[in-house]
Point group: C2
Chain length 372, copies 2
């Protein structure tokens, strides 16, 4: 099957670019002496997770329990669930997963949650490895560095069933900071907080060896910081417009990794000489950034949202004619929530569809009676 | 199972409110003498489509071919695909569907597309009923009213396999116009364009009886216009914040229908006395409007986006304490693209989960070799 036979909108992965991104990050991490536990929330796709493992990853990060279930079932080891699992339904579901996959790790940021996890693990006779989530400046989840973090670590250490493996210091605010030098300052400040917390724990007789942090935007900053042992970058496999604009050292374009993911569309209406309508709207691209899709096929075309299933193209500056039925590819503003909108992606090499990879953990699939 | 046992984020449908919305629209359309062909793009859910049929709908509208396939397979008759199907892959896929469901209707706005559909229908020995899509002011798809529309209608009339059933005049720009009187002016102007086009066709010896238009926002405007025979409203079953703000006659709140859909979340972190973090972010709610989710459980709480899986609540004005593990329901900014993010919804009556309804047409599932 070739790309020309696909119904649109279709999610297209340029497999050569993807493989180059995969190799580049894996070799960089290896050279820097850091473990790579890539974040699966970007792709939710077991086929990609397997390739990340083959390239040397120590496991994968996941954001949710359903993601963990899908990846574990696909045989991916070493899963770290990077969001706190709070409340009986999630804790019970975690225990059922842990029974079959004892190497799964969770994160905690609250003493009450630690108590509930300990109670559940005791009831199920299980051990649970945890990272303490530390707020390194994103001000979202995480224990405050210093005394609050120490107190929480002491509570974890006092349990029978939870084992403190390390600390998570995810600097979401650093990942997309524009300008390499700015980003370096912000990320180093964030990483210092998690390392200071580790030091404070050590001084108080507690071990927390695994330090997990980093992102695609800070991969070559955080891995240069002594003590950051793991990188949870995710977007590097796909890249997107939101990352491309953050710049690298010496350039306003962050091109360490290359955009591998596009949405293939069809021009379904030509209502005006200067306007074309494509069949990809806000159900085909995530709208969470102010950036709009960028036409890869024809230069000088501007995309604006025009509803659930429509995008409106201004052709006033188009570099060539755009006709009804033309198939146009668009680079994606933000890869993670866009991938989430598709059942599968097409892995394409030289116009040929080499494989169809299910995005098996797409969408929210909350627990149900028949969930294992 | 009760609502308290569900893992979050979970999509919750208050079944009593839903049934009231369903009945209200059905009886209104009946009294107004208009047919109701509700739009399935809002729910993508066969269980809801069946209830709409039971309430008297003449069929359903769908936005895409995969939606049509899912609904047809679920036994829903009278499907109107409201977006143009352009290009060989989609036309072939339509033919395969049409073979098994000859009552499916498509829309056209371009002579070239009419020619391609005619060729395919001839090759497959099929008949295809079409509506001519007329641009009534939304400036998205649709033939321009007047001579261009007439010429297109004449081309359709000249085919062997396509039958012109009527006209589609979808006024997307009217649906969300704030203020009933403003909306009435905008929508009546739009509907006049499609009716003038019908008149022009009649004068030239062409019949186009079915006139399809309208939306949840204009249901009681368009059905009062003589000649508008069908309403394609969709959001009324769920309602959302984006519709609630458009107002009705005599009120700034559009409360003809009531919000039936919420996302149930859990407070997973309490990093600060004034801040709570819930487990529902931009993969749990669509972000295409500037409106943010509204907390239904606790008044005075403000939601802001905090990533793929996180929402940040400001509690400074909260009407009661919010604790770790609290389960909070949020009303949805825009129902259509939010429903699309979930595998299924929970139909809940008095805290009990009465049914789990798969959102079977969620997400993009482009054609594949194994697609029938």
């Amino acid at each position: 099957m070739t790309i020309h036979e696909l119904c649109t909108p279709a999610l297209i992965l340029d497999i050569e670019v993807f493989e180059s991104n995969l190799t580049k990050m894996a070799s960089y991490a290896r050279r820097a002496g850091a473990n790579l536990r890539p974040h699966a929330k970007s792709h939710k796709c077991p086929a990609i997770a397997r390739r990340q493992m083959e390239a040397g990853a120590v496991g994968l990060c996941v954001a949710t329990l359903p993601e963990a279930e899908v990846m574990a079932e696909a045989g991916i080891p070493g899963l770290l669930i990077t969001s706190e699992l709070v409340g009986a339904p999630k804790i019970e579901r975690l225990m059922r997963l842990l029974e079959r996959h004892p190497d799964i790790m969770a994160v905690v940021d609250h003493q009450e949650n630690v108590r509930h996890l300990e109670e559940a693990a005791t009831a199920h006779k299980l051990q649970l490895k945890v990272l303490m989530d530390v707020d390194v400046g994103t001000h979202r989840t995480g224990a405050a560095p210093g005394r609050p973090a120490l107190e929480l670590a002491q509570v974890i250490a006092g349990t029978q069933r939870l084992k403190l493996e390390g600390l998570q210091g995810y600097a979401g605010h650093a990942a997309h900071t524009v300008g390499f030098e700015n980003r370096k300052v912000v990320s180093e400040e964030a990483m210092a907080k998690v390392l200071e917390t580790q030091h404070l724990l050590n001084k108080n007789g507690l071990q927390a060896m695994l330090i997990s942090g980093g992102s695609t935007g800070t991969y070559n900053i955080d891995t240069q910081v002594q003590g950051i042992s793991e990188l949870q970058a995710g977007s590097y496999v796909f890249m997107d417009l939101d990352y491309r604009r953050i710049g690298r050292r010496g350039s306003e374009t962050f091109d360490d990794f290359t955009c591998a993911l596009t949405v293939l569309t069809t021009v379904i209406s030509r209502p005006h000489p200067d306007v074309a309508i494509v069949d990809a709207g806000l159900k085909a691209f995530s709208t969470d950034t102010p950036i709009t899709p960028e036409c890869k096929t024809v230069g000088g075309v501007t995309y604006t949202w025009a509803g659930d299933e429509h995008g409106k193209l201004s052709l006033t500056g188009a570099h060539r004619e755009v006709r009804l039925g033309d198939r146009l590819e668009f680079i994606i503003p933000h890869c993670d929530p866009t991938t989430n909108l598709y059942e599968s992606l097409y892995a394409v090499r030289a116009q040929k569809v080499e494989a169809i990879w299910p995005i098996a953990a797409r969408g929210h699939s909350p627990c149900r009676p028949d969930t294992p």
